[in-house]
Assembly symmetry: D2
C-alpha cells in the first residue's frame, strides 16, 4: 500500500505517533473489507438463519471501520475529542463482530479468520486511542 | 422520504422508540449531505485558508453521520454497546463541526445553516443515546 | 431537509439545472437508506434463503447511491465525464435492485416499497445524466 | 492484508478471475485512502487556492473507490451490468484525479504519488472490467 507515503508528505503532519496512526488505518481497511466479505459469505451459507447476527454486526463493523479510516487519515486541524470517540466506537464495533464471529468459528472458517482481523483492528484502535487521550490532556 | 415506511415493515422490529430512531436517521442524512456541501462551498471561498478547520471537521462529520445512519437503520440483532458508542461518536462529530461552523457564521451563510443542521443532528443522536442506555440496563 | 439551502449558497454554483441536482441527491439518500433497511429486513425473514440476491443487490445499491449523493452534492470544479459515469453506475444499481425486489414484492411489502424507491432514484439519475451529457457537449 | 483469505473462503465463489478481483479491491483501498490523504494535505498547503480541483476530484475518487471496493468484494449473486458500470465509473474517477494531480506533481510530492496510485487503480478496474464484459457475453 502506498497511502502511507502520502500521509508522511502532509505539510502540517499530526503530532500523534505516526506508526500507531498508520497501523490503525491499515487495520481498519483490512477489517472493513474482511467484514464485508464475511457478511457476504455468511449470507450464502446454507445455515444463513444461524448467521443473522454475524451478518448484521459485520455490516456495522465495515461501516464503522470505513468512517474511522477516513477520519484517522486526515491530519489537518483535528478535534481530539471526536477522534477519541470515533476510535471508541470502532473498537466497540470490532469487539461485537469478533465475539459473534468467534461463536461460529468452528464451523465457518471465514468467521474464524474475520474474528482475528476484528481483534487486531480493535487493538490498533485501542492503542491509538490511548495516545489520543494522553495528547488531549496536554 | 419513503425509507421510514420500509423500516416499519421489518419482520422483527426494534424495541427502541421508533420515532426517536427515524428522527436520528433523518437528521444524519441531512447532516451528512449538509456537511459535504459546506466543506465543498468552503473550499471554493476566497478566504479558504481561514476555513481549513471547517472543511476538515465537516468531512469528518459527514463520514460519522453516514456510518451512524446505516447502523441505526439496521434493526436485526443489534449490539447496544456498539450502537451507544456510535451515537456518542456522531454526537461528538456534530458538536465539533457545529462549533467550528459557528465561528464563521457571520461571514459565511452556508456555515451558519450547516451549524444549525449539526446542532439538530447532535440532539437526535443524544436523544436516541439516552433511550439506548436505558434499554441496555434492562 | 435543509441541505438544499446550503447547496444554493455555494460561492460558485453549478451550471447544471439545480432542481434536477437536488432531486437526484434527495432520491439517492432515500434509496441508500431504503436499500439498507430492505437488506436488513430481508435477512431477518424466515425465507431468507430466497432473498440472497435481494440482500446483495440492495447492499450494492446503497453503496452506489451513497457515493453518488456525495459526488453530485459537490459543485466545485466538477469533471463531467466522471459525473456521467457515476450517474450511469447508480442508475444500473437502482435498476438491478428494483428488478430483484419486484420479484419478491407480492410476499414482502418492504421489497415492494423498496422497488418503487429504486425506480424513482433511477429516474432522477437518468434525468440528471441527460443534462450532464448535453452540458458536456458544449 | 487478510481479507483476501476470507474472499477465498466464500461458499459460492465468483467465476471471475480471482487475482484480477483481489488486485482491484487492493488498489481501490489504497486509492481511496491515498485520495483522502492527498485532499487533506492539499487543503493545508499555502497555495490551496490552486488546488481546489485536486481536492474536489480526490474526494470524488475516494467515494467512488470505496463503493467499488465493497461491490467487487461481494461474490453472492452478482449483477454483471452493475459491476461493469461501477468499474467504469471508478476508472473515470481515477483518471480525473490522476490527470489533475499530475498537473501539480512538480511542486507537490503528495500529488505526484497520488497520481501514480490513481493510475494503478484505474488499470486494475479496466482489467477487471474487460473480464466482466467477456463473462457477461456468455
Amino acid at each position: 500500500m502506498t497511502f502511507q507515503e502520502i500521509i508522511k508528505l502532509h505539510p502540517q503532519p499530526t503530532s500523534l505517533d505516526r506508526d500507531a496512526l498508520l497501523d490503525c488505518i491499515d487495520a481498519c481497511l483490512d477489517c472493513a473489507t474482511s467484514c464485508t466479505a464475511c457478511a457476504d459469505a455468511s449470507q450464502s451459507e446454507t445455515d444463513v438463519q444461524e448467521l443473522v447476527r454475524v451478518i448484521r454486526l459485520c455490516l456495522d463493523c465495515a461501516d464503522a471501520c470505513d468512517a474511522t479510516s477516513r477520519i484517522v487519515t486526515r491530519q489537518s486541524a483535528p478535534d481530539l475529542r471526536l477522534l477519541a470517540a470515533m476510535l471508541e466506537a470502532c473498537s466497540a464495533a470490532c469487539l461485537a463482530s469478533a465475539e459473534e464471529c468467534e461463536r461460529h468459528a468452528a464451523h465457518h472458517e471465514h468467521c474464524r479468520v474475520c474474528a482475528e482481523v476484528c481483534r487486531r483492528c480493535k487493538k490498533t484502535c485501542d492503542d491509538l486511542l490511548a495516545i489520543v487521550v494522553v495528547e488531549n490532556q496536554h
